[in-house]
Symmetry: C2
């Protein structure tokens, strides 16, 4: 490499350092000030570059990809508001622990706060949401300057992928010329080629440690897990994910069931053949179930909590109402337990911890999956949960009418193996949580549960899809689809065939769950806010095939419009999988009716689950 | 007012304080945590509430409205990423000095950083971009607490509308219940009704001063304006705008022409009948014109600069290349002159200053509009500019072929009187600057030149339109229209009939102006980034009538497709004005050909302008 000018040299060093460290993809939005970075990415053969026009969507695309891969995904944009458009995704990446690198081009220092065009204050633009921030010095063509910028890039990567992964931000000023035009004398001919090229590997390597308990603490924790009645609660996993094998081993060693959030990576997969995976708890648990209110129901004495706070509010409330010792495992030492019921914070990398614990607990000779249901107390407790779960799902699946929750149920039955499923916030993730029976299909389920926004969902899903050969399915609501409709432009650009299943309840159906429902006309006008968007037109605009299933009637009697069934949805979905290209399946449902059905089914599931534990012991 | 609970009381006090201070409109996005604020706005009869689903568009809508009215426009959103979506508009409001109030709902303090759902760090979310920030205390129902929150709101308003107007941010935590449900005992019955209701006016009034020179400084400045050759350069105006009358008076008193940016508020309007308004400078000025290179051309000795840095780079470079004393007037004392050619910073409110100066300069008995062209030196200098300007516009308007610049030219000829015209960044504002001949139509031209982003343009335009009974026209490029396509949803919700003229050059046509044009294939793939979006489908989706003018051929020979003419555009535009509802007029142009035409016309205009000054004096 011999760079025509110092900007090209500088940007090439940055990109080369990233590529040497294993970064394989980047998301670039068009702009002028960012030209050196854009060109350096475009010309680097080891980095796949995605071009996205809307920077908000670009950032969520990178987020989705980084969430799916666990790998830092760089973003490049021009100066000004472009960089501010990254903020929603940066916020989600912060709370969701997703490694992102925002490279925001900037005017050179002398033009800042000068009234120059497209110049804003980009310093510390994302505040405390990033793990590392640096305003890079101006490009310079010396060995020392290049070593410095490479070190800064390596530091940013280390922070993004560290024990508390998350977004990082490098602000990169450039003066003209921005294009790779030769500037005689700008780059000294005696520049050390090693400094330029990064030699044959990363200029600055990283060897990363992770939090691990010492032997005494580990034994103490293992001893706590000797209790008869225990639960392993797996909340939404931080990238790169929870290890099913290690956690199954711990479940076997302890005899404890795994309450698996749909975003934990443990609700679905081959391990469910051999591990007691519980998934229906959102329907039948509540604070009321805890304690002695049901004679046959036993609460846990100890709970080991992995990942973030569970999606299920019922589960969180239930756990808080028990007297169990709750061990919250967090490698970053944050305290993610909003019911204030944690009794211990365990600062350790969870997969390694579970592996270590399973050997220690197993060594004591009790517990073990083989004993589940065999009459010993550890097995009996898992058995209680398995019986309750089975009964609950039977009740949940018994509804005659079509309702919103059935969409998740139907998709789960049809998803290919393997598959990547992205679920939106608001109702889809809750429905998947409640109606998603654990199964053995190898599903990677992703969602943005860091801050749980309904923004950037389409882009996040496509970003996740861009990183895998799996079929990609997005389950979303109408508001989220509208909010990031711009994200659909990426379909053409990222070589992903997606099936988007949009549950359209014409507005904020989730608000029917809330007390504000009773305050009309304000409820309809300011909360539910029906929008009347025709998604067929949206599909048309971005070249998706469009199918609609109208299940608003809900009685499935095969009569007039509005009688769409699960089978209609299933067959539309199967057809989408069979064809090339992307499909939008719009499922019209009645939000209010669905809410009533959800509530009734939940009551029935609770009754069934508790009854199923009767006669136990 | 008797509030059912403290949240309702608190939110009602906030909204009442705003309404008492004259706030007449707010923009609310649906969400749960913000329920008390949403309900308080919805139930306040003096505030017009707009509902917007996409918070990014919501914030730009409020920005456009506040820009048009100069009045603080509050925004309400729920917690989490919703608030981060405001950031691009907040950044623009900061640099563009637009008064915005972001009211972001938040979880109560105990849930922050607890792992609770939809909870992020919203403290100081917009960093230094806001003029005032406060994390409100939790709602409390006491006279003192209500007085305190009303005072905080008044402080925020004062900061937003002060000498350096801009965005402010109040973070507002609420615990449940969020809906206006009665909570017995929550609001004391003996609460002072005055504290509750804000009495009959604002609880906290404001009497606002503005920077004004003392007599000695004023006389010194007036004396500097006794120079023979001077210019008044009006850049993009800060809300609430530059006063045409005061500035015309100063032009008369000094004999100086007014170089009026299209966003100054002075390029178009009745004052242009009597004031020497110059608008073609972008075509014929450059650093090369300055100095003695053209024997008949005279440079200014003194320049009085109002508003922000001019849109025209040619003008900025020209001014920097002259030896003129440059007085940059800024009421906030910022130094908005990126060529580093300012000689004096004048910290004074510009309209008042021009009025004061016109009386002092006029009192000395020289200058005056009546003398323009009459042979005295002041008049001769204005005459040079008027002759150059006329010659330049004749050259610019002489093109046979249709080209991008002709779109602005055509619209200007057809705009009703009065009208509000919003121009997007990238090429539209530059074309309006270059091809927009000064005229007497009463036009309010708005644009987002604070940071000059291409985001939020549709929403900003509709926000501006929502504040006036003028016909609203938006002149935009294809990328900006795509970027904020979500903003079109507001058309149904804000009672604005808009004509959107979208110049479609399929991607970043502006990049043809830059040296990067020569680097293909990277240029096309990563800079121009053709997107292939069909705007007819977009129009369909949001219920706009759709008309297309295909002028890609450009020779206007009436042949095949691609021969659209100015008259086609004019007639489509006239039809849009005549009808109810909104229209999208898509004008297909060839970006590269247009760029060549622009360049050629500019050269011709320069030759014509300089030639027109020949024989002078």
């Amino acid at each position: 490499m011999t760079a025509p000018n110092r900007n090209t040299l500088w940007a090439t060093a940055i990109v080369d350092e990233l590529a040497s460290a294993g970064v394989s993809a980047a998301v670039v939005s068009p702009g002028s000030r960012s030209t050196p970075l854009t060109m350096a990415f475009a010309r680097h053969e080891d980095v796949h570059v995605f071009s996205q026009l809307d920077e908000r969507s670009a950032a969520f695309f990178a987020l989705g990809r980084a969430r799916r891969t666990g790998e830092v995904t760089p973003l490049v944009c021009t100066s000004g508001t472009a960089a501010a458009n990254y903020h929603p995704a940066v916020m989600e990446a912060d709370q969701g622990r997703v490694p992102l690198l925002a490279l925001t081009a900037d005017r050179p220092p002398e033009l800042r706060d000068s009234g120059a065009n497209q110049t804003a204050d980009q310093e510390k633009l994302y505040g405390d949401a990033v793990r590392y921030y640096k305003d890079l010095p101006e490009p310079a063509a010396s060995d020392r300057a290049l070593a410095s910028v490479r070190t800064t890039v390596a530091r940013a990567l280390a922070a993004a992928e560290g024990t508390d992964p998350g977004p990082v931000h490098l602000n990169v000023p450039f003066a003209k010329p921005l294009e790779p035009a030769p500037v005689p004398g700008d780059v000294p001919t005696d520049l050390d080629p090693a400094a330029e090229s990064g030699r044959d590997g990363p200029y600055v390597g990283r060897t990363t440690g992770a939090a691990r308990l010492d032997d005494r603490d580990l034994r103490a924790l293992a001893s706590a897990l000797e209790a008869d009645r225990g639960l392993i609660v797996a909340g939404p996993a931080d990238p790169p994910g929870l290890d099913a094998e290690a956690i199954t081993a711990l479940s076997h060693a302890t005899g404890y069931p795994i309450l698996a959030d749909p975003l934990s990576g443990l609700r679905f997969g081959g391990h469910a053949r051999v591990a007691p995976v519980i998934g229906g708890y959102d329907a039948y648990l509540s604070a009321d179930v805890a304690g002695a209110s049901t004679p046959t129901w036993r609460d846990p004495e100890v709970v080991l909590r992995l990942g973030a706070s569970p999606t299920s509010k019922s589960l969180r409330k239930y756990l808080a109402a028990t007297d169990a010792d709750q061990y919250v495992v967090d490698p970053a030492g944050r305290w993610r337990e909003a019911e204030f019921a944690a009794t211990d914070l365990v600062i350790a990398e969870p997969n390694r911890l579970c592996g270590d614990l399973s050997r220690l607990v197993g060594a004591s000779g009790r517990g073990g999956r083989t004993s589940v249901g065999s009459g010993d107390t550890g097995g009996a407790f898992a058995n209680q949960w398995e019986r309750a779960d089975d009964a609950a799902f039977s009740a949940l699946e018994s509804a005659d009418a079509f309702h919103e929750g059935r969409v998740a149920e139907t998709l789960l039955a049809e998803l290919p193996d393997p598959a990547t499923l992205f679920v939106s916030n608001s109702m889809p993730v809750r429905d998947l949580d409640r109606f998603g029976r654990p199964g053995t299909t190898s599903l990677t389920v992703c969602g943005n549960r860091g801050v749980s926004g309904i923004d950037g969902i389409v882009s996040s899903a496509l970003g996740a899809g861009s990183a895998t050969t799996d079929d990609l399915t997005l389950l979303t609501g109408d508001l989220a689809l509208y909010h990031d409709s711009n994200g659909l432009l990426a379909l053409d650009r990222c070589d992903v065939d997606a099936t988007i299943v949009a549950v359209n309840n014409d507005g904020g159906g989730i608000f029917h769950k809330l007390p504000i429902e009773e305050y009309d006309p304000e409820f309809t006008e300011w909360f539910k806010t029906p929008h009347g968007i025709e998604f067929s037109t949206l599909a048309d605009q971005y070249g998706l095939r469009y199918v609609t299933v109208d299940a608003r009637d809900g009685d499935g009697d095969g009569g007039e419009d509005g009688d769409g069934t699960s089978e209609d949805l299933a067959s539309a979905y199967r057809e989408s999988l069979a064809r090339d290209g992307s499909t939008l399946i719009e499922v019209h449902v009645d939000a209010e009716a669905s809410h009533r059905v959800r509530k009734r089914l939940s009551e029935e599931a609770t009754t069934a689950a508790l009854a199923a534990t009767d006669g136990e012991e």
